[in-house]
């Protein structure tokens, strides 16, 4: 656009430019003519003046001759000398002036100074000068003896000169008189011409001025009309467009024009020149606001290319809280798009386009939920196809029970902070168990959700502000999220069990439930139809694949030895707890214990770590269940530092405890020696959950460890309790 306007400057102002050129040319011509005529007028003035002087000189010559004759006769020496001198001067002046009229020459002017006398121009004047010369040639010859103060003339010569002067005096006077008249006529003509030129010049200048004014007014009116049309188009566009449009200045103020939809979209009155940032700040979270501020600064700066920062825009699909004119809080999603507006290659503004993308975002969320549900169903299908049905069935039963346990705990009013914290730890242990079991079966959707929930709960516990009523409500909402995922999984397992002709246990009745969808989904219990007891418990395969997966995720290599002697003959509730214990201990072993190959090699250990999960029958109904790894071991000093750093112990308290006492603290909720928490460990939940499970089977936990050598957890219990 700028380039076009640059090219069309001459075209746009062509008429005015031509008018100005015409004005300059006309003025120059008039001034030139005027200057020439002024010069000529000067010449005419000299000519008229000198021709008038010729008249005077002709009379003076005659007079001086007569006076010289009288002085001569009276022998008045003084008179003779004076008159001769006078005559000489007069004759010379007359002669050179007449010559000037004829040929053009330098003469003595009226003021005694040299002046250039131009040759007469008209035919009349030339004839008058020629006629004058006819008389003057003879006259000048007769005067020669009397000139130059010569006293060598005689009376006859004087007499003849006087006689000639008397005879021609009138004629010379007439000729010079006529010459003067003719020169005056010429001067008048020239003056008339000058007047005419001035009049013509004035007329041209006036016409030119009138033309310029008319053209300018017409152009201005045309420009105004186009501007008005353009403004009307802008107004129409801004009134019609659905998006919120406005320009943002470098000081982050709104421009003078914005689309009519903008106030509606932002749910507030918008005025030109308003500060944009406070408006934005009132709508979005502080984090998004900070990012948006940085982003807008980047866009308004000249250093960064727009295309490079577009992807950094933090204001796409951003949730905003808005209060409308009725005071109604509305949760909407808006997208703000920013484009630099350049003038002569420099950023002048940023064009902001605001779109209400609420419907789109909600649709995306619904799609995401549908996808999540589909994923659950597909995962269940894959589990059924590639795994044993009994484990999946067991998982569904266990998870249903776990969720009910959480809900039951939540339904008990929590009167004090300690009770709430106790409830929170209880729920965390259960969720941790669900996470572990889901991980064993590879049900990512539940594992991931359990992990996300666990992180939220850890944040609540670690906030140091206690568990608030709002947080209790949040836990209930998280529980509903579990139920949604669990129901989808249970429903598909039930349908597939039906399709495969497997028997299904009757779901327990659900009091108060009017919608039997949940009853069907949440309580479906599938019977194992495995024809014979496998040689190896299915859990061996599950825990082995889980361990390999976690090892791979952490870049570690392991060799697993898993021997579960008599495992299948244990009561189901005991094997269930032992499975939960082993899942957590394996996670811990692979996260904190076994080192990465490079570290192991550096400590002169085999590159591949060893992980042993054993269950030994000790006789008399007693069992020893153990998980052992040959990793870093429990390092009391590191644990001590970790406890001090997390604020659980003061330096003095930590120093006062023995290594054994410090090591025992790993079973307390929230205690972890991991530097970084991840999906597998580090939240201080796992060993707390392990201890609860050990208590559930009335077992006893024993830990052996040697730094840089091994860690060994033993659970001793009796199946005959």
């Amino acid at each position: 656009m700028d380039k076009n306007s640059g090219q069309s400057i001459f075209a746009r102002y062509r008429k005015i430019i031509l008018a100005v050129i015409l004005f300059v040319v006309a003025d120059s011509v008039v001034i030139g003519i005027n200057f020439y005529n002024t010069y000529k007028a000067d010449e005419s003035a000299v000519s008229i003046n000198l021709s008038g002087r010729q008249r005077m000189l002709s009379q003076r010559m005659t007079k001086v001759l007569l006076l010289l004759q009288r002085s001569t006769e009276a022998q008045d020496e003084e008179g003779i000398v004076r008159n001769l001198k006078e005559l000489d001067l007069t004759v010379n002046l007359f002669n050179t002036t007449l010559k000037g009229f004829r040929d053009g020459d330098m003469v003595t002017g009226g003021d005694g100074k040299p002046a250039f006398l131009t040759q007469v121009e008209t035919e009349i004047s030339r004839q008058l000068v020629a006629d004058a010369y006819t008389i003057w040639d003879r006259y000048f010859d007769l005067l020669q003896p009397l000139l130059k103060n010569s006293r060598h003339y005689n009376a006859a010569q004087l007499e003849e000169a006087v006689a000639y002067a008397q005879n021609n005096n009138l004629e010379v006077l007439r000729l010079m008189n006529d010459l003067t008249t003719d020169l005056e006529v010429v001067a008048n003509k020239r003056a008339n011409m000058l007047r005419m030129v001035l009049i013509v010049g004035f007329v041209i200048a006036f016409m030119n001025f009138t033309y310029t004014v008319i053209v300018s007014i017409r152009d201005l009116m045309s420009g105004d009309r186009k501007l008005a049309e353009s403004r009307n188009e802008n107004v129409e566009i801004l009134a019609t467009v659905h998006e919120g449009l406005f320009l943002l200045s470098k000081d982050k103020k709104l421009g003078t024009q914005f689309s009519e939809s903008l106030p509606r979209m932002l749910h507030r009155e918008i005025k030109p020149g308003m500060d944009f940032m406070p408006i934005l700040q009132s709508m979005v979270s502080p984090e998004i606001y900070e990012s948006a501020m940085d982003y807008i600064e980047l866009l308004l700066g000249e250093r960064v290319k727009e295309s490079l920062v577009t992807s950094l825009n933090p204001l796409t699909n951003v949730p905003v809280n808005m209060v409308d004119k009725f005071g109604t809080v509305q949760n909407r999603y808006l997208s703000f798009f920013f484009n630099r507006a350049l003038v002569d290659g420099t950023i002048s503004h940023v064009l902001v386009t605001v779109q209400d993308v609420t419907d789109k975002v909600l649709l995306m969320q619904q799609l995401e939920q549908a996808k999540s549900k589909t994923k659950i169903e597909i995962e269940a299908l894959l589990r059924l196809a590639g795994s044993d049905f009994a484990s999946l069935q067991q998982f569904i039963d266990n998870t249903g029970q776990s969720l009910s346990q959480i809900n039951e705990k939540l339904s008990q009013p929590q009167e004090d902070e300690r009770a709430r914290l106790h409830t929170l730890n209880y729920i965390m242990r259960i969720i941790h168990g669900i996470k572990g079991e889901a991980a064993v079966l590879g049900i990512d959707v539940l594992e991931n959700y359990a992990h996300e929930s666990e992180q939220e709960l850890v944040a609540m516990r670690e906030s140091g502000h206690g568990v608030s009523g709002d947080q209790i409500l949040r836990i209930a909402v998280l529980l509903e999220g579990f139920y949604e995922r669990y129901s989808s999984l249970a429903a598909i397992v039930t349908r597939l069990a039906d399709a495969l002709g497997m028997k299904k246990a009757e779901p327990p009745p659900m009091d108060g439930a009017k919608d039997d969808k949940y009853a069907e989904n949440t309580n479906s219990v599938l019977q194992t139809l495995t024809p014979a007891e496998p040689a190896q418990h299915p859990f061996v395969g599950h825990i082995t694949s889980l361990a390999q997966r976690i090892a791979a995720d952490h870049g570690k290599q392991i060799e697993i030895s898993c021997q579960l002697e008599g495992f299948s003959s244990l009561p189901p509730d005991v094997t269930q707890e032992l499975q939960g214990i082993s899942i957590q201990l394996v996670r811990n072993a692979l996260t904190h214990g076994i080192e990465i190959p490079e570290e192991r090699v550096a400590h002169n250990k085999p590159k591949i770590g060893a992980l042993c999960i054993w269950c030994k029958y000790l006789g008399n109904g007693d069992y020893d269940f153990s998980v052992r790894d040959d990793g870093r071991g429990i390092v009391p000093e590191r644990l001590r530092n970790s406890l001090v750093k997390s604020g659980r112990l003061s330096m003095t308290e930590a120093a006062a405890l023995s290594d054994t006492e410090i090591a025992k603290l790993i079973f307390q909720p929230g205690v972890s020696s991991a530097a970084v928490a991840d999906k597998d460990a580090g939240h201080g939940v796992g060993l707390d959950a392990v201890m609860e499970k050990v208590k559930a089977i009335h077992g006893r936990m024993r830990v052996r460890s040697s730094p840089s050598m091994f860690t060994e957890f033993h659970v001793q219990f009796s199946a005959a309790r």
């Binding site: 009910s404 809900n407 009013p413 836990i475 949604e484 108060g512 009017k514 949940y518 949440t522 309580n523």
Partner: protein, 155 residues
């Protein structure tokens, strides 16, 4: 599928809290939040009021409180009459406040019925609410009341 979140639920509970705070200058605290499921039932008290929502969300929000708690509330409000009609009016007022907050929270598109009030038996709510409705037990003074949120997204 329920798609309401804790903010949605909190808007109802906050309304109850706001009512009590403005009338008695005392706060209401959440003591428990759970889902209606199997043996775990919604807490029904002597007097219950509810509003019915339709639009992008549909369902009902109930407020149920023991008679003694509402009577104490009227006392705190310097009301002399404390018969059943007056007690039901009070729980109706609380449902009205919930309605106002719901309108603010969900916007103008939400249609909300006038509050309905009734004297209720101990398990009445269990016979009317959907499984997995949210039950939030709140405490004012030494009393407990329940806010039961049984709404689902329809749009």
């Amino acid at each position: 599928m329920k798609s309401i979140n804790d903010n949605d639920i909190r808007s109802f509970v906050d309304a109850v809290g706001s009512f009590f705070f403005h009338t008695t200058n005392e706060k209401v605290e959440i003591r428990a939040a759970y889902l209606v499921e199997g043996e775990i039932q919604a807490s029904t008290f002597d007097l219950t009021s509810y509003i019915t929502l339709s639009g992008d969300f549909s369902g009902r929000v109930y407020f149920s409180a023991p008679r003694v708690m509402v009577a104490h509330l009227l006392l705190a409000m310097h009301e002399l009459e404390r018969d059943d009609d007056r007690l039901l009016d009070a729980v109706g007022e609380i449902a009205n406040t919930i309605s106002g907050n719901a309108r603010k929270h969900f916007g103008e598109a939400m249609q909300i019925s006038v509050p309905v009030t009734q004297v209720t038996e101990h398990d009445w709510l269990n016979s009317v609410v959907s499984p997995h409705s949210y039950v939030i037990l709140v405490k004012w003074k030494q009393y407990r009341a329940s806010v039961v949120v049984d709404i689902q997204r329809t749009a």
